[in-house]
């Protein structure tokens, strides 16, 4: 989950998110270098006492500052495309779960083996336990295994929604009439939060997603209902 006054990305829980964080650091470094260079040149040009009233040409400098940005763009594009293709790799999933968006809650269906279907509503602030996160907790969490490729099928029953878990690097639109697939492999157990990421009406901010990632052996034992 995000912590207060957070500026950067959340810690990664999946390998793809680790790649995305590394790429973000790389792109941000390039952007900062360019910004500081431009600011430095601008300030030195504005504050110098030297003057030159002749028009001069500067063919070499013009060549460099045309070629160099092209090279920088290639240096940004290559890692980006690499990650794009990594997300599309064919990995035979071990498990398929469906997530259906409604106004304003999610329904999760586990139908590989049986027919476990349940709704996941946000806990209203009055129903929170001490220490719970406001606007993030739900009554029934999605329980998923770690270290196994999981296939999420995401759709919507009414309007557009978007199913997100930032720490896993996932964001997939829930489009009515369409079934979108996303796959991920989580590496650490824990409870991870996300929020609906496509405007869907009055309670768009109040339909969070909570994924509880547990070890594979415990997951295989089957669902445990707590009353």
């Amino acid at each position: 989950m995000a912590h207060p006054v957070q500026l950067g990305l959340q810690d990664a829980t999946s390998p793809i998110m680790e790649e995305l964080i590394a790429f973000h650091d790389h792109a941000l470094m390039i952007v900062c270098l360019i910004s500081f260079l431009v600011l430095y040149v601008l300030s030195s040009v504005l504050m110098t006492k030297l003057t030159n009233t002749n028009i001069t040409d500067a063919q070499e400098m013009e060549t460099i500052w045309t070629i160099l940005p092209a090279i920088i763009l290639i240096l940004i594009a290559l890692p980006s495309l690499r990650i794009l293709y990594l997300t599309d790799e064919i990995n035979n999933p071990s498990f398929t779960i469906k997530s259906i968006g409604h106004q304003w809650y999610w329904t999760y269906e586990y139908t590989d083996y049986g027919g476990l279907i349940f709704n996941s509503y946000m806990l209203p602030p009055l129903f929170l336990n001490p220490g719970d996160l406001r606007l993030l907790e739900v009554d029934n969490r999605v329980v998923l295994p770690i270290e196994a490729p999981v296939r999420m099928m995401i759709t919507s029953q009414d309007v557009l929604h978007s199913w997100t878990i930032p720490t896993l690097g996932l964001k997939t639109d829930a489009v009515p009439g369409r079934l979108n697939q996303t796959t991920f492999t989580a590496m650490r157990p824990g409870v991870y939060y996300g929020q609906c990421s496509e405007i869907c009406g009055a309670n768009h901010s109040f339909m969070p997603i909570v994924a509880e990632l547990i070890p594979l052996k415990i997951f295989e034992m089957g669902p445990v209902f707590t009353l």
């Binding site: 398929t96 139908t111 369409r178 079934l179």
Partner: protein, 88 residues
């Protein structure tokens, strides 16, 4: 994990629908719908020929895993009413 044996389907035990190269992209709507159609077509053809419908179970498991229950329920309702648009 990447060798040939790991990628072949495990004998007997169903886990989840395998990767279908006919539908390699993000949009799996057609995958779900096609398996639903294939299941009913398989049932229809095999019952007409008086054969066991056990091989059709594969299609059932795939569409059951992939398709949202509400879609399946509405399609079954349409089939019952004779208003299903697909060709079975």
């Amino acid at each position: 994990m990447l060798d040939v044996e790991a990628q072949e389907p495990r004998k007997g035990k169903w886990s989840t629908p395998p990767f279908d190269p006919r539908f390699p992209n993000q949009n799996q709507t057609r995958n779900c719908y096609q398996n639903f159609l294939d299941y009913h077509r398989c049932l229809k053809t095999r019952t007409r020929r008086g054969k066991s419908t056990q091989p059709c179970e594969y299609y059932y498991r795939v569409y059951h895993s992939l398709c949202p229950t509400s879609w399946v329920e509405s399609w079954n309702e349409q089939i019952k009413n004779g208003t299903f648009a697909g060709n079975i």
